[in-house]
């Protein structure tokens, strides 16, 4: 079946995992009809009930093949009825609240699909809400982020975005650029004289302010990515240092194979976890060394690639072997904002603290014995401290991929606009073309339309005409 906007769609709306209740949601013109098919209660059928009401009842299933048999109770449920346009999607929406856990929700979903609903694509409810005019573009992107959010903190950020922080901030940038553009356009359309130096300076200043703000927004991109996708934490070190042991400790499960043979881990192993609400993508890697084994060499090169991209690097050193120059090389490969040296196996030898002096100067160093679990808590705390350093705190409003591209292109355009104006060599109509491009891009983030506001801005500030 071809997916269509007319289909009635269904999905489990609560996050996977154990919760007290699970919700299955239906949206579309057939929602109530479908509810009639699977739900029984005292009083009128769901389709005969008003919007904004809820009713307690049971989910039924027909016994036997082809549904010819008699009905049997599957689960108890509370049904919530929302009638268009007073719903999230502005369509008819029905929600089934059933017992927590995947199993009963999955069964309700299966029944609904048998009855004619289509399985919703990821984010399809939100897309409908957007298309039906319920929320604006930025908000809909924020909702998608909430849906995809891997942690509470990311969800909070997306919620802020929904409240219009980004729209507000982008609006300020837009207005700066619009004023600069109004100055420029006025000189193009009305004044016959050359541009006065003060006007040029005014335009350049406005552009500079906007540029600073745009760069600020861009830098929040990285932060937004971290919150959306999780902080990329990479465990690295030479073979047999205890990387996989650390990895398993942090995950609190036996995920990676641990043996006494160096070169055990051959590939990247990635798992998602949270630490005090922060989303983390934890990666175990192959130990770095010279090797003739093709498989191991491939694993090492993958490890190096992960090390290079790490946000936080956990570098494990076997205290019984001690640090050497190779370690330095590996550590300097990363662009991680935080590097933590973990000196392991202190149960075997007392580490030579002198050897670690160079590391102390630049990195946190934790002494531990992973075999006994000693020091693991400290490692967690050091990671957590680094994480809160990455959380820029108050004023951030993070941007999505689409915003990032538009802002980057707009930045190029305004840089060129400023260059043309200040050089005084080239025609300023070209500068106006660049600014216009930037305005259209910034405006497209929140859906503002260019020309309506421009002339008003011009007329309110100049004495024009004959």
């Amino acid at each position: 079946m071809q997916a269509s906007e007319q289909d009635t769609i269904a999905a489990i709306a609560t996050a996977p995992g154990e919760g007290a209740i699970a919700i299955v949601r239906l949206s579309g013109s057939k929602s109530l009809e479908l509810a009639d098919a699977v739900f029984r209660s005292k009083g009128p059928r769901p389709s005969a009930r008003a919007g904004g009401t809820f009713v307690y009842g049971h989910i039924f299933e027909k016994d036997g093949d082809g549904g010819s048999g008699k009905e049997k109770i599957v689960d108890e449920a509370v049904l919530l009825i929302f009638r268009a346009p007073h719903s999230y999607t502005r369509e008819d929406v029905v929600e089934f609240q059933v017992h927590g856990g995947r199993r009963s929700a999955a069964r309700v979903l299966r029944l609904l699909i048998q009855a004619g609903a289509r399985m919703a694509e990821p984010g399809e409810f939100t897309r409908r809400a957007f298309l039906n005019g319920r929320i604006d573009l930025v908000q809909s992107e924020a909702v998608m982020d909430i849906i995809r959010a891997k942690s509470d903190r990311a969800a909070l950020l997306a919620a802020e975005q929904m409240e219009g922080r980004l729209s507000h901030y982008v609006g300020i940038i837009y207005d700066d650029l619009l004023l600069a553009q109004a100055d420029l356009e006025a000189t193009l359309d009305f004044l016959e004289d050359d541009l006065e130096q003060t006007v040029i300076q005014g335009i350049a200043d406005r552009i500079a302010v906007a540029e600073r703000r745009m760069k600020g927004l861009l830098s929040s991109w990285n932060e937004g990515r971290i919150l959306r996708e999780g902080v990329f934490v990479v465990v690295a070190g030479r073979p047999n240092a205890g990387k996989s042991t650390l990895f398993n400790h942090l995950l609190e499960m036996d995920r990676s194979i641990v043996t006494r043979h160096p070169g055990t881990t051959r590939d990247l192993i990635e798992e998602a976890m949270t630490l005090n609400g922060y989303p983390i993508r934890l990666v175990d890697t192959a130990g770095i060394r010279e090797t003739d084994c093709e498989i191991e060499a491939e694993g090492i090169s993958r490890a190096q690639e992960a090390i290079a991209r790490a946000d936080i690097l956990l570098y494990v050193i076997d205290a019984s072997v001690g640090p050497n120059g190779e370690d330095h090389k590996v550590i300097s490969m990363t662009s991680a904002r935080k590097k933590i040296i973990i000196l392991n196996k202190i149960d075997i030898v007392q580490p030579n603290v002198n050897e670690l002096v160079p590391y102390h100067a630049y990195h946190d160093v934790v002494l531990c014995s992973l075999k006994t679990g000693h020091g693991v808590q400290e490692i967690r705390e050091v990671i957590l401290r680094s994480l809160s350093g990455m959380d820029a705190g108050e004023s951030h409003c993070c941007i999505a991929e689409r915003h990032k591209t538009q802002i980057e292109l707009a930045l190029e355009s305004i840089a060129e606009a400023a260059r043309i104006i200040q050089s005084g060599e080239e025609e300023i109509s070209l500068s106006a073309a660049c600014l216009r491009d930037a305005l259209e891009r910034i405006g497209s983030i929140t859906g503002r339309v260019y020309y309506d506001s421009l002339l008003d801005s011009i007329f309110s500030r100049f004495c024009l005409g004959k």
Partner: protein
């Protein structure tokens, strides 16, 4: 006089003249009905054509076979290029005309058209049957029939003139207003509102002390709008290369069509300025002005403000320019550009006499403001046909615009489309990326206007492409399709275009000192003719076009990409009878606006004020659903 025509054009102003000429030149039998034949193409205000952005409209009309450019060139007394330093895309031509000659020449041109008849009379009613225009009824009682009617009444509908506290009805000072037609439109269901505009007094040249003002001369060689006037100017220059430029001893019998050689003996204008005394006189008399005294309710032009406006709204300026412009060669009248007002006569005299050079000014006419009816232009399609009455077209000031050029552009489009109805040909519509004409009409029919609409370059999103030097090349295919432009001119332009593209290819592929010639051309101050091997076959205009296209290349490519993006939306048609009310998901405001304006494409819908990107997405879905159901 016949009683039946293919097209009847009402009102021989700047819109009506273009409309009537377009129709008759397309071969349909046309009547031009107007109140006063001697007032054909009268310049109600400043006798000048062009200026920033308006000039672009004139070049475009010339490229398509319109008359306004030629008429200005042949009756021009001063020619200037303005805004030169800011880039080719905003550079504009302005021609100061001889007011009487301008009107006389246009009349001669109209009379020369075999398919065109000029009828003196006032239209009081439209004959409408089954929501279709069938003709007009004149005050004299005569009825004229036609397949289409183009209505261009200018400022004449319920025109009300204000001078100080005095007001009286009139279409222009000294001319009657046309009120019956306005009533008729109301009965037909059109929604109209009031706008206002104004004009300065006129002053006797002999009473001006020019020594106190700065001279402003025309450019040499004179920049011109029309290829025809340029050709004649060049011919003359080549024949008399060694003669003194200013001595025209050619044998030629001058006529109304060519009162003198275009560009000949330019006249001088002057600049003076207002001062503190002048501003005080105005401030102290504001309560007497019709604008500020309360008798005017219509909305005025922000960008062509009256002097009262300038003084109230820009208090910190202690001086404004006043241009002293002659109204013609053989007249003693001057036009003090910048002093438009609606003050009582005695205040006007005191105020004008406070300006340096005008201390002893004698008035020939007083300034006045005029209020008039216009019809909300969102009631029109892009062809300028009304949505309420088939085959009835509106053009010019009636659609809320101001200016001769804006009026002429609409007249041309309405005329061409009226003729196309008669000829059963497809409508002609200009897009925003094709011409300023397209921007003008799309703005009007999509957004409407709450103040007199004037053209600006900033209204055009593709300004770098829509230059005046590119007009005849970018509009060539449209000109061919409309087929008013002379065959020779089309062939000549095609030939130029061929040569230009060959030459551009050569510049991009020929290296000198490690750089292409095109790269060399991008250096500041470099001109096409400075390049090695430049071809004399490329004229001055072709050279300007090449220079600009090459210097702007990167920017033009970007605009072309944007146009290609938009083109997708412009291609998605919305049926005329599309039911917005049935889309409950649309916000109330959007539903109401879209039902009223009835955009013809998704692209146009996205430009309707108050319609958000989300609304547009909804319409898109709704359209898709519609086609899904059909399939």
């Amino acid at each position: 006089m016949r009683l039946e025509y293919d097209v009847i054009v009402v009102g021989a102003g700047h819109a009506g003249c273009e409309a009537a000429l377009a129709c008759s030149r397309m071969g349909v039998r046309t009547a031009l009905v107007t109140m006063e034949i001697s007032a054909v193409a009268r310049m109600s205000c400043n006798p000048s054509i062009g200026g920033i952005a308006k000039s672009h409209l004139v070049y475009e009309l010339d490229a398509l076979g319109g008359e306004i450019g030629r008429n200005a060139d042949f009756t021009g007394i001063q020619f200037r290029t303005i805004n030169t330093k800011k880039g080719a895309s905003v550079q504009s031509t302005r021609v100061q005309c001889d007011k009487a000659a301008y009107s006389k020449r246009m009349l001669a041109v109209l009379k020369n058209e075999p398919m065109l008849e000029i009828v003196s009379g006032t239209v009081i009613e439209f004959i409408v049957e089954e929501d279709t225009a069938k003709g007009v009824r004149l005050q004299s009682g005569v009825s004229l029939k036609s397949k289409c009617v183009v209505f261009c009444p200018g400022t004449f509908m319920n025109g009300m003139i204000h001078i100080g506290k005095r007001s009286f009805s009139g279409g222009r000072n000294g001319e009657q207003s046309a009120n019956e037609a306005a009533k008729n439109l109301d009965r037909l269901g059109f929604s109209c509102a009031r706008l206002k505009t104004g004009t300065p007094p006129r002053i006797r040249a002999s009473s001006i002390d020019f020594s106190k003002a700065t001279e402003q001369r025309g450019d040499e060689p004179p920049p011109m709008f029309s290829s025809e006037a340029r050709r004649i100017y060049r011919m003359f220059r080549e024949e008399h290369l060694d003669a003194d430029r200013t001595m025209f001893h050619v044998e030629h019998s001058w006529s109304d069509l060519m009162p003198w050689l275009p560009g000949w003996r330019q006249m001088v204008c002057h600049i003076t300025h207002t001062n503190k005394i002048c501003h005080d006189i105005i401030s102290n008399s504001l309560h007497l002005s019709s604008l500020y005294g309360g008798s005017i309710t219509g909305t005025g032009v922000r960008y062509c403000p009256s002097i009262e406006d300038k003084i109230v709204k820009f208090k910190d300026r202690d001086s404004h320019h006043v241009f002293l412009e002659p109204e013609g060669r053989d007249t003693d009248e001057y036009y003090p550009n910048g002093t438009s007002n609606s003050l009582p006569e005695d205040v006007q005299i005191k105020m004008i006499r406070s300006i340096p050079g005008l201390e002893r000014a004698e008035f020939t006419k007083f300034g006045y403001a005029i209020e008039y009816d216009f019809c909300d232009p969102t009631q029109l399609y892009h062809t300028l046909e009304t949505k309420l009455v088939r085959n009835l077209f509106f053009a010019g000031q009636i659609n809320g615009t101001t200016g001769y050029e804006e009026a002429a552009a609409q007249g041309f489009v309405a005329g061409v489309n009226a003729a196309n109805v008669v000829l059963s040909k497809r409508p002609v519509v200009f897009s925003r990326s094709q011409a300023y004409i397209g921007v003008l009409i799309d703005d009007l029919v999509t957004k409407g206007t709450s103040e007199p609409y004037r053209m600006f370059t900033s209204r055009a999103e593709h300004r770098l492409i829509l230059r005046q030097d590119s007009a005849k090349y970018r509009l060539l295919s449209m000109a061919k399709c409309i087929a008013i432009l002379k065959k020779e001119t089309i062939i000549e332009t095609e030939h130029e275009l061929d040569e230009i593209s060959r030459e551009m290819a050569r510049l991009k592929s020929t290296y000198k000192d490690g750089a292409t010639l095109a790269q060399m051309l991008c250096k500041k101050g470099m001109r096409y003719f400075d390049l090695p091997g430049s071809s004399q076959g490329i004229g001055v205009e072709g050279a300007l076009f090449i220079e600009t296209e090459i210097k702007y290349q990167g920017y033009i490519e970007r605009e072309n990409r944007q146009i290609a993006n938009i083109a997708k939306d412009e291609a998605v048609q919305i049926p005329k009878d599309f039911d917005y009310e049935s889309i409950v998901a649309l916000r109330f405001e959007a539903r109401e606006k879209l039902s009223r304006i009835r955009p013809s494409t998704i692209g146009q819908a996205s430009r309707v004020p108050g319609v958000t990107p989300a609304d547009v997405a909804i319409i898109r879905i709704a359209l898709r659903r519609k086609t899904e159901v059909v399939h």
